[in-house]
Structures are given as structure tokens and as C-alpha cells.
């Protein structure tokens, strides 16, 4: 667990570029991701290495512990109201809250998005769109298909700052 937190942040909040904050991520979502890393189905070298040899029980315990970390906080800047409004409308248009909940806290296999690192959100949306990050199921590959790059940036800006 200490090894995880060295990069992902002790308080559930990551300080590293494109490394996600994990605080309050649903345990089931974490379990799926850790499993996919261990089985090399989701390919991120450092994570494939870190999960190598872990047992199913190890994965379960890590997931449960991570879920108990405090939720990350949005960046301390004062958000640009116009961008926040655009993001809000995009969230409505693509119905992100339908699965991720209205407060974007996620549940079960659906990850928390609220106050996630903006750079990680951008990276994830781009990867889903070109399918270089195949999801556990096809949902995000489908959802991201019609989202153009400027909207990805606005969505990520909004999610990173949503309260």
C-alpha cells in the first residue's frame, strides 16, 4: 500500500502528472483495474510491474483500503465560470452523471470523477476515444466516440473542479 501511495498520494490526492488520485474510488472499480493490470489486460508498465504476483486477496485488500482514503480536493484556483458552464452542459449532453452519479462520486464498477486530476481525465478520455485503453466493457469506448478534442478539455476542466 505504501508503494501505491508514493505515487498516488498519501491522502488520496496525487501530485504527479497523469497519475490519478485514488481517494474514495469505489472498491469494485479498483479491484477491476488492479486485476486488469495484474493480467496485463490494461497495459501501463509501472502498474503491470507493481501488481505482478499479487493474489486475489491482495487485490481485494488493496481495493478496500484505497476506497477508504479521503476523496481528493479540487485545485485551489478560482474556476473560469464560462468553462465550468460549458463543462456542465457537456456533462448533461453526454449524460456522464447517468452512470457516474450526479455528484460524480461513482459507484460499484463506475469510477469517481469528481476532483480527479485534470491531466489524467484528459488522458483517459483520449485513450478511451482511440481505444488504446480498452475498458473492462465497451461503455466508455462508445460514449467517447462523438466527443471532439475541445469538449474533452472542457469536460476534464469541469470534472477536476466540480464540488
Amino acid at each position: 500500500m505504501d508503494l501505491c501511495l508514493a505515487c498516488h498520494g498519501e491522502s488520496g490526492q496525487s501530485k504527479d502528472t497523469e497519475v490519478p488520485s485514488l481517494g474514495a474510488e469505489p472498491a469494485f472499480y479498483m479491484l477491476i483495474q488492479l486485476y486488469l493490470f495484474r493480467e496485463n489486460q490494461r497495459k501501463v508498465d509501472v502498474m503491470n510491474e507493481a501488481t505482478k504476483g499479487l493474489t486475489d486477496d491482495d487485490l481485494r485488500q488493496l481495493s478496500d483500503s484505497i476506497a477508504k482514503l479521503p476523496a481528493p480536493k479540487p485545485p485551489p484556483d478560482s474556476p473560469d465560470p464560462a468553462r465550468m458552464e460549458r463543462g456542465r452542459e457537456l456533462v448533461h449532453k453526454y449524460r456522464c452523471g447517468f452512470c457516474h452519479n450526479r455528484d460524480f462520486a461513482g459507484h460499484d464498477n463506475v469510477p469517481r470523477l469528481a476532483a480527479q486530476r485534470e491531466d489524467y481525465l484528459i488522458k483517459s478520455l483520449r485513450e478511451y476515444k482511440v481505444n488504446s485503453r480498452p475498458g473492462y466493457d465497451a461503455t466508455m469506448a462508445e460514449v467517447t466516440q462523438p466527443i471532439p478534442e475541445p469538449e474533452i478539455l472542457d469536460l476534464a476542466y469541469f470534472m477536476a473542479r466540480v464540488r
Binding site: L90, Y94, A138, T139, E142, P146
Partner: protein
């Protein structure tokens, strides 16, 4: 009452369900089902954001329903925690755990020498269940495959359909400890994720039949999609044999009339109770069109794509299998150990709904047929996978073994069950 709601009510009073749905501009659709309209210009922050035109009237309550596809755990349930005690079967039948520890178990096929091959959809594996010295053993034959849902077996060769390619491996049962590399036979396939996974089966013509699903919930599919194709076993001679099919995860040949029957999963977000999923039969290969995206369940025009069309243009289903019930695997029973009433009937694994507040499906139903191949009745066969509106398990596929017993895969628990009738249960041990 909103305008659309009042119109809906008036139509409900006045007309048929078909009229209601065709005229109902309000049904919610799955996210990103079609190109989104341009964003509305930003309005003052206090004003509620108007929904895009095509989603107007979507009941606000739907967002509170928290309906989303249900993900199975990637780690299988322990054998002693499987829900077999909760399952209900007709008198004389018995169900037991056949094998556990096969995460995301999907398609089931039996090899000539008795090996049970099991595919996965969300994982990257093909498993084999083998008997060794009276002991049953699960081994992972292949890893690193991409959504390898489809399996077929013939003359010693295993065929595997991944998302966008079909491969084979010869003499697999002689090499279970050291499985040979897969040989690609066909990959002229789209790479879309939605409904990209395949079901693979042999027709009586010794050709491989498989689906190319619609790349969406509801959309106008490209000409390469929403169809059944068949190929020769070497991958040559591709033909499209049926069109207008949203997604299939189960097909089998009727042993009497030799036609292919298949389950089809209908569109989501139209409503809780319509459209129903379908059981179809392919009576006119090359000509049949089953209606997607214009017509659903054989008698409802789509509220967007159905304008100017008629359901009579399309091949009708032979049975309706319930709204959102997700019928997947299906097989005809040709064995002799089940009572005679089940001979040549179709057993269908209904995976169970996600796009519905009160879950339905999550069972095995049996479709008994008339002499002309139409459906006489649909009856429950195994129930009990749903408890308090939650899944205890989800049947994904089934297969009949040479001894006449039935296997059922459960992709939620990562398990395979075996169903036997009468004293046959003892013979397995």
C-alpha cells in the same frame, strides 16, 4: 403534465402501443447513440440546461434509476459460495456445480474427446475443463486474446472469434498442456467495441456463422454491421446471410428443419417494458432482414428511424423473450436423458436485464416448437438467479454434453453448472 406526457396519455387512451411509441418523441436513448447536436449556447448560470432535441421529454426520474450495464467481478466466486441451492428446477431435475474458478465464463463447447472449452468476453482467456484420473480440472488454455467470446468446435479443431478476428487451432485436445499458436482464418471485420463481441457456430453447410453487431444502442448501422455472415472453415467465401440485427449472443441449428435460430437483444432506453428481445429464425439466408433499426420486436416502429417504414417489410420474430431480458446462449436439445417433451426444444439462457428498474430474466427458459418450426410455448426452466432485485448469478450460455446433461455458464460468478434428470445425476460421479 408536460406537453409530451399529455400527448402520450391521449395516445394511450386512443390507440395502440405501436402508435404511442412511433409518435413519442421523448424516449431517452443511450449516451452517444448518435452524433450529438451542437452544444447549446451558454445561458445564464441559473437557467436549467435544456436537453438536446432528441432527448427532450426523457423522464427526469430515469436519472435517479441509476441504470447502467452491470459489470461482473473479475475474480470468480468460490465454489462453496455459488447459488445452486437457491435455483429452482422442474421436478426430477438436479443442478450442481460442475466447475468454479473460471472468471467471466461465457460460451461453452464440448470437444470430441470430452474437453469443455469456455470463453470469456471481458477477460482475455479461454479455459478448458478436463477430467484427469476422475478429477475435474480447470486450466487456462489461452490468455491475451481480445474479447474472445465466440467458440466453435468441429473435427478436432477449435475456432475462436475475438472482437475483430477469427482463428483456429487444430488437434487442440491432443495438446491441452502445450496449446499451439492460433492460426488466423478471417479478420475482415470492424473493430468497434459496442456489440463487437461474436457468437460463433456451425451451420449444416459446414460453414462458420457469426454476427457483426450494431456499433451502438440505436443508430443507422454502416452496411458492414448489424448482420450475420458465414465463411468457409479456411476463412474464404464470406457471405452476408441476414441483416437488420442489433446484436446476437446465441445461435443454433434446428435439428428438424435445419434452419438457424438465434436470440437478438433489442434496443435500450425506449421504455422499461418495450421493446422485447427476440427469438428469430433464418429461413431465407441472404434475404432475411430482421428490422433493426427501423422496427423492434416485429411490431413497433422506432420513434426516430421508423418514420415512413412498416414492420411488415421485415422478417418477424418467432417469439418475444421479454423486455431487456438479454437472451444470450441457446441450444436445441437433441439428447435422450431429459423427458420426451424437451426433445428438439430450445433452451435459452436469459442473462437478465440492466436497462430496467425491476430486473427480469436471469433464468433458463425453454421454447417448445410446433412441427412447422414456429414456437408453441415459452416456459421457465430454471429460475432463482434474481433475489431482491439483485443478481446471485447470470446465465450466459448453455451446452448439452454427449451424455445428455446440460452445462450452464455463469459469467457473474465465473462458474459452470451441470443439470441432469433423474438418476443420470449419479452417473457423473
Amino acid at each position: 403534465m408536460t406537453q409530451s406526457a399529455s400527448r402520450r396519455r391521449a395516445l394511450l387512451l386512443a390507440g395502440t402501443i405501436t402508435a404511442v411509441v412511433a409518435a413519442w418523441p421523448a424516449a431517452a436513448q443511450q449516451p452517444a447513440a448518435q452524433p450529438a447536436p451542437p452544444a447549446a449556447p451558454a445561458t445564464q448560470a441559473t437557467a436549467p440546461t435544456p436537453p438536446p432535441t432528441w432527448a427532450q421529454g426523457r423522464p427526469d426520474a430515469a436519472i435517479e434509476a441509476k441504470l447502467a450495464p452491470i459489470a461482473p467481478p473479475p475474480i470468480p466466486t468460490a465454489a462453496d459460495k455459488l447459488p445452486v441451492e437457491k435455483l429452482k428446477l422442474p421436478k426430477g431435475f438436479k443442478i450442481e456445480v460442475y466447475a468454479a474458478g473460471l472468471a467471466n465464463a461465457r460460451t461453452l463447447r464440448q470437444g470430441d474427446k470430452g474437453t469443455i472449452f469456455v470463453s470469456t468476453r471481458l477477460l482475455d482467456k479461454i479455459y478448458a475443463i478436463v477430467e484427469k484420473g476422475g478429477k475435474r480440472e480447470v486450466k487456462t488454455l489461452y490468455s491475451g486474446l481480445y474479447r474472445p467470446n465466440g467458440l466453435a468446435f468441429k473435427d478436432g479443431t477449435l475456432y475462436i472469434a475475438e472482437l475483430s478476428k477469427i482463428s483456429k487451432v487444430e488437434k487442440i485436445e491432443d495438446n491441452l498442456d502445450n496449446p499451439p499458436k492460433l492460426t488466423l482464418i478471417y479478420d475482415d471485420l470492424p473493430k468497434d467495441e459496442p456489440h463487437g463481441w461474436k457468437f460463433l457456430t456451425f451451420g449444416t453447410d459446414n460453414k462458420l456463422y457469426f454476427n457483426v453487431g450494431a456499433p451502438c444502442n440505436i443508430c443507422m448501422p454502416p452496411p458492414t454491421h448489424a448482420q450475420i455472415r458465414r465463411i468457409n472453415v479456411d476463412g474464404s467465401g464470406v457471405e452476408v446471410v441476414a441483416r437488420g440485427i442489433r446484436q446476437i449472443v446465441g445461435m443454433d441449428v434446428n435439428p428438424v428443419n435445419k434452419q438457424i435460430y438465434f436470440t437478438e437483444n433489442s434496443r435500450d432506453w425506449l421504455s422499461e417494458d418495450i421493446p422485447q428481445d427476440k427469438l428469430n429464425r433464418l429461413a431465407q439466408p441472404g434475404k432475411d432482414n430482421f428490422g433493426y433499426p427501423y422496427c423492434h420486436q416485429g411490431n413497433i416502429l422506432d420513434q426516430e428511424f421508423g418514420w415512413g417504414r412498416s414492420c411488415d417489410e421485415f422478417t418477424k420474430p418467432v417469439a418475444l423473450l421479454g423486455p431487456h431480458s438479454a437472451p444470450l446462449g441457446m441450444r436445441f436439445y437433441t439428447g435422450t436423458t431429459f423427458p420426451a417433451e424437451y426433445r428438439n426444444a430450445i433452451f435459452i439462457a436469459r442473462h437478465g436485464s440492466w436497462n430496467r428498474s425491476k430486473k427480469i430474466g436471469g433464468d433458463i427458459v425453454v421454447a417448445k416448437l410446433n412441427k412447422d418450426g414456429t414456437v408453441k410455448s415459452i416456459e421457465p426452466f430454471i429460475t432463482g438467479f434474481i433475489e431482491n432485485n439483485n443478481y446471485l448469478g447470470r446465465p450466459a450460455d448453455l451446452a448439452f454434453l454427449k451424455d445428455g446433461s446440460m452445462l450452464i455458464s455463469d459469467d457473474y460468478n465465473g462458474a459452470v453448472y451441470r443439470v441432469t434428470y433423474g438418476n443420470a445425476a449419479v452417473a457423473g460421479h
